[in-house]
């Protein structure tokens, strides 16, 4: 079992305490919660996704816990600009604000609110286009490039989180790269659905939802691997990571760091310490020795 040496790491312009970040949409609603997760051992935290207007999100049920994953359709609830007030107590901690918008202008507007307030921004592209017919921004390379550029020109580290629900994720990764992204985060949730056979309707209020957790780990590994071959940006792996071995696997696929979300539900906030205990040791190796080594 590979162990890594303990050290801060700078990825995509952001200095993290270790390689394990809290994923967007998980407990990232308040400054107090973000602080708590950092205190519990996360190397960095990504906030809930903030958009141009406040949103209540979808009617419930918003979540379904499966044997091997989570299905959710929160609907991007967020307090919009008011969220800046949550960050004042976090100082220079490794906080990355997840943002979304309906078009490049909205992305730029929301990004602007957080300039100087956070270590970086992560673009959530799994949001509907302002004039789209439900398809998310993240399936359109041209839009991805424009939204990325609209934010990266502001000068903050700009991570772009890709959706796996596309025919060719490398085309989207390259678009983010052209748009000036500092790093790619792969991946967001997989579009899915479950139906209650007892109540004869979808279990989620929104019917469709995003699948996360162990079930999608092989999809996430594949996406990281493909993007590592296609793009030159640092990659942050996300999707079903819940153990130190999963972290190593993601690194071997090409990831420099990882985001952890669903495992926080299954294993509670202590999952960061648990993974750190298995992952790090004083005499551990430099991750650079294994990042991408599966590409042989």
């Amino acid at each position: 079992m590979v162990v890594l040496r303990t050290e801060p790491v700078t990825i995509g312009g952001v200095t993290l305490n270790n390689h394990l970040l809290l994923a967007a949409g998980v407990l990232g609603t308040t400054g107090a919660s973000l602080s708590r997760v950092l205190a519990c051992g996360a190397g960095g935290v990504v906030t809930k996704s903030i958009g141009p207007q406040p949103k209540d999100g979808h009617a419930g049920p918003c979540i379904a816990l499966l044997d091997d994953g989570i299905l959710n359709a929160m609907g991007l609830p967020n307090p919009s600009r008011e969220f800046t007030g949550e960050l004042s107590g976090l100082g220079s901690k490794p906080v990355i604000v997840s943002i979304f918008g309906g078009d490049p202008e909205e992305f730029a507007e929301v990004a602007g609110w957080f300039k100087g307030m956070a270590a970086g921004l992560e673009l959530n592209l799994s949001c509907p286009h302002a004039e789209g017919y439900g398809a998310s921004i993240g399936v359109n390379p041209d839009l991805v490039e424009k939204c990325t550029r609209a934010v990266s020109t502001l000068g903050m580290p700009t991570w772009v989180k890709l959706t796996p629900n596309v025919t060719d994720i490398t085309a989207i990764g390259k678009a983010a790269e052209r748009g000036g992204a500092s790093a790619i985060v792969a991946v967001n949730t997989v579009k899915a659905m479950r139906i209650s056979t007892a109540l004869r309707r979808p279990v989620l209020g929104n019917r469709y939802g995003g699948l996360s957790g162990e079930a999608i780990f092989p999809v996430a590994v594949r996406c990281v691997y493909e993007l590592y071959e296609a793009c030159s940006l640092p990659i942050i792996g996300c999707g079903g990571i819940s153990s130190a071995d999963n972290v190593i696997e993601m690194m071997m696929a090409g990831a420099c760091a990882v985001e952890i979300g669903s495992a926080v539900q299954k294993h509670d906030i202590t999952v960061f310490e648990t993974i750190k205990n298995d992952l790090y040791a004083k005499k551990g190796i430099d991750p650079a020795e294994i990042i991408g080594c599966a590409h042989g």
Partner: protein, 254 residues
């Protein structure tokens, strides 16, 4: 995770408890600790947290779309339920319970487990008092109403001043947040904050500790997973009694 898709229950009885509160009985029982909640899915409407008032019932005040839709349901109709979730009341042997309005709902199963010596019960008016008869069977009930229509004319905090807290090993409180905040101040004055627990209500989306909708300041405790029952010590320096958050996460004064 072990699959926790909602189970379907059928309503077997709907009892009007007060002009604004109903109890919904269903055809399945849930093993739970008093103070735990379930996520109740009103099909086609929403899914919201509700306290179990017994192994096969939830007691609910009409307050929004979901509870409003529930009030339109009839016996024989279905709901989805998942849970129970959360941390319930720590059981003592000689407990004091303090309940206001629909807050008496989770205190009923606590009283029925034979650990509550005295229960201070408050409401705005006599008609809004919840579970008086049922509670009377399990514990000594002392009543206060804001308008004096029954019991003492005043609040449960007034009743609290007149009892001797030292005879109780633990205190359990559930009701409107301003009432609970006042009780916290009172127990803190006499050094009982650590032995007093409060059942919080916050807007929830997931109910299982992942979305963060119900996190309270300033420690980031999750009402659905670290609570809904918290000790007075945990709550003293929190947002408790001052503000809450709405569905979008914006702060709202209480």
């Amino acid at each position: 995770m072990d699959e926790q898709l909602p189970v379907q229950v059928t309503l077997t009885e709907i009892k009007t408890e007060t002009p604004s509160v109903k109890t919904f009985f269903f055809d399945r029982t849930f093993a739970f600790e008093p103070g735990q909640f379930v996520m109740v899915w009103v099909p086609g409407v929403d899914e919201v947290p509700m306290a179990l008032s017994s192994p096969n019932s939830v007691t609910v005040q009409k307050a929004g779309d979901a509870t409003g839709a529930m009030f339109d349901l009839r016996v024989g109709m279905g709901l989805g339920i998942r849970g129970p979730y959360g941390k319930g009341f720590t059981r003592g042997e000689k407990m004091l319970a303090i309940g206001g309005g629909v807050g008496a709902a989770p205190l009923l199963p606590l009283a029925r487990s034979d650990c509550v010596m005295t229960l201070l019960l408050g409401a705005r008016t006599e008609k809004e008092l919840l579970f008086v008869d049922q509670l009377d069977e399990s514990t000594d009930v002392i009543i206060a109403t804001d308008d004096g229509s029954l019991g003492q004319h005043g609040y449960v905090t007034d009743l609290f001043k007149e009892i001797n807290p030292a005879v109780y090993d633990r205190i359990a409180v559930c009701g409107p947040e301003p009432m609970m905040r006042a009780v916290l101040a009172a127990v803190d004055t006499i050094g009982f904050a650590a032995k007093t627990e409060f059942s919080l209500h916050r807007y929830m989306k997931c109910g299982v500790g992942i979305c963060g909708s119900c996190c309270i300041d300033h420690e980031g405790l999750r009402v659905c997973r670290d609570g809904p029952v918290f000790s007075g010590e945990q709550l003293k320096k929190s947002e408790f009694g001052h503000y809450t958050r709405d569905a979008s996460g914006r702060k709202k004064k209480i």
